[in-house]
């Protein structure tokens, strides 16, 4: 299926991409709450996406606290949009 991306398709990674998609950057804690997983699970899934070049990680110190933001890279956004389009085609084909 054209556009289908096996890196993105597993549920947690699909959710992570969907949380990131509307924004430029989303804080790690927000993604964790939206996806409903632990820090370690999220870190592992983010690492997969980072290794594929789909997610970028930025760290900054705010009020003496280290905070982390995640964002979709240009190729990550393109892959996510392509994946969503492939899912839509599959869902529509059955109607």
């Amino acid at each position: 299926m054209s556009g289908f991306d096996p890196v993105i398709h597993p549920l947690n990674r699909l959710q992570i991409c969907a949380v990131l998609a509307p924004h430029d950057e989303v804080e790690f804690a927000v993604v964790r709450e939206e996806v409903g997983v632990s820090d370690s699970v999220l870190s592992k899934q983010v690492r997969h996406l980072e290794e594929a070049g789909y997610v970028a990680v930025r760290k900054a110190t705010v009020d003496t606290r280290q905070r982390t933001w995640l964002s979709l890279t240009k190729s990550g956004r393109a892959a996510f949009n392509g994946h969503v389009a492939a899912l839509r085609r599959l869902a529509a084909a059955a109607e």
Binding site: M1, H23, D24, V26, V84
Partner: protein
Amino acid sequence: MPTEDITPEDARRALSEISAREQGSAARLEWPLWRELVLTGLVSGMVLAPLAARPFDILLIIACCGGILAMVRDYTRQPVWVSGYRKGRTQPMTFVFAGFVIALYLGSFAGYHTTGLWWIPVAASALMFLGFTVFNRIWMAVWRAEIREGRP
């Protein structure tokens, strides 16, 4: 997972999950009134610079630019943030508005320095305040509608 293993029902469930997560994430974007007022004030204040004598006109521009940069820095440290230049239906709106802002700045400077009429920068500043406020609201409404309708 091989593609042939995904059923249309799986695809529908995945799309529904994507939509729920996108909308949940989009609902977290905050644009409080104080931030809007301060930013609008700084952008509009800069248009008044021609009314001030040298070097206060330059100092006013530097102060406003510094304030805008500080606001942007604060905004990009929020839990979620979205840029005005993001791709989609909002992007052409941003470029059109940027043109409006540049035209008002140039109009204010050129209008005052060629005619000496004090009300030109004042009117330009008021127009900027109004334009910026309206633009913010329309931009956010279009962005939220785009998320609601789903991506292309």
